[in-house]
Symmetry: C2
Subunit: 225 residues, 2 copies
DNA sequence: TTTAAAAGATAGTATTACTATTATAAATAA
DNA sequence: TTATTTATAATAGTAATACTATCTTTTAAA
């Protein structure tokens, strides 16, 4: 059985839906590759167009600008991750086990998922680690937020916060703890690989240590008494 | 008695030392104001030059590019914060009390400090909350790090990690916990004000709640038992 | 087969991110 | 005091970026 996974994206993220055409899918696919390769700052629509064999103007028919493309792919990532969280934790009763699985999903390398043909989830995950927060660290975050561009991120945060509350109903900071886990899953990995003295894993560069740290952090906060 | 505070800056951060000339100090002073006002993405040396009443070329004599200026002011901030941490925690025996003071320094609004004339610490702190991580979230982080540009950040992290170890010598993740506190002191505040559903303080927008969250997080992690 | 939608080709503009040059003013050393 | 260094100002220029506009050709749906 072949299942095709479709993440429903907010219409405001694009001008023309990139999933519905060959060129659109190429923009997303090669966009991910190119941002991963040269970084978001150096990334331009001109370079992407050359990569694909189309023109700059062609890309502008799909995305208003490169920042919107970044929001698009990050939103896609959070949507996909939420799907995986719900799938992975389904039928599990113990909320602590759920939480462990969530931390694992957030902090460890993903394998490319064949059910989404044009998106390389591993590259996308690596982009998220280095560039993810740039999607909202802007002066226009409030307007972007009004357009619901960050909904997938916020939804995921809410899902995790709920699991935290299942573990400890009286815990006072479920959302902040959830956003802390999400951000630190990426930042601690980035630090480990690029600014190792900001972590305790610089020597081994072993991502399972990030998992251990996050588990310790979370379960200390929510253990009874 | 008037004391003038001088933060010794890494020579590689600038082309000409901005502290030593009138124009240099103006670049830093108005640079902070302008980045705060329009955000780092929209900020250009042209606009800054117009602001000051000098020319673009004039600014390029001090800083290689706007990213270096961002690293410069963030490095200054971390250096200044470390000084305040050492000052504030001096002569305090109880490491837990020290840690509380550190969290407070990290997470609450600062008043402009008159001992540094050309730098508005409050604006600088606000810049750090929104733009601070952009200083290192780049493709050239490794080369920048080799030039020791992030030393003040790393030093501060080490100072905090040491206090954590004083509290609990066997704790396994002092540096990661320190960098988590530092980052979350800024991120939770940014979220509270801009993406409130990622936190538990959206209603009140009260920064003392960020302090409570961080204290809870840290002291859960390092309590005995 | 007609028609509409998408893509390609081409051109053009304002702004950004610089570098270079030359002239002038201010500070300092001989 | 003059000579000399040093900093600044004024101006010009370039390649790249971030777009917008228009027109033609190809592809796909009615």
């Amino acid at each position: 059985m072949e299942v095709q996974l479709q993440i429903k994206m907010n219409e405001k993220l694009f001008i023309r839906n990139p999933e519905q055409t060959e060129l659109g899918r190429k923009i997303v696919q090669h966009g991910i590759q190119l941002i991963h390769e040269i970084g978001f700052e150096s990334f331009t629509f001109k370079k992407l167009a050359e990569d694909i064999g189309t023109t700059e103007a062609g890309i502008y028919r799909y995305f208003e600008n490169k920042h919107r493309l970044l929001i698009y792919i990050t939103a896609w990532y959070w949507g996909w991750l939420q799907y995986r969280v719900l799938f992975t934790t389904n039928n599990i009763k113990d909320p602590a086990v759920k939480l462990r699985k969530v931390i694992h999903l957030l902090a460890t390398t993903v394998e490319d998922d064949d059910s989404t043909l044009h998106i390389n989830e591993d590259l996308l995950h690596q982009i998220l680690r280095a560039e993810g927060s740039k999607a909202y660290l802007t002066k226009h975050v409030t307007e972007d937020n009004k357009e619901q561009l960050f909904k997938p991120y916020k939804d995921l945060c809410a899902v995790i916060a709920d699991i935290i509350l299942e573990c400890k109903p009286k815990y006072k900071f479920p959302r902040s703890l959830a956003s802390t886990i999400i951000e630190m899953a990426h930042f601690q990995n980035f630090f480990m690989n690029n600014l190792p003295s900001l972590t305790d894993f610089g020597k081994t560069k072993d991502e399972s240590k990030v998992v251990s740290f996050l588990e310790d952090l979370v379960f200390s906060s929510i253990r009874k008494k």
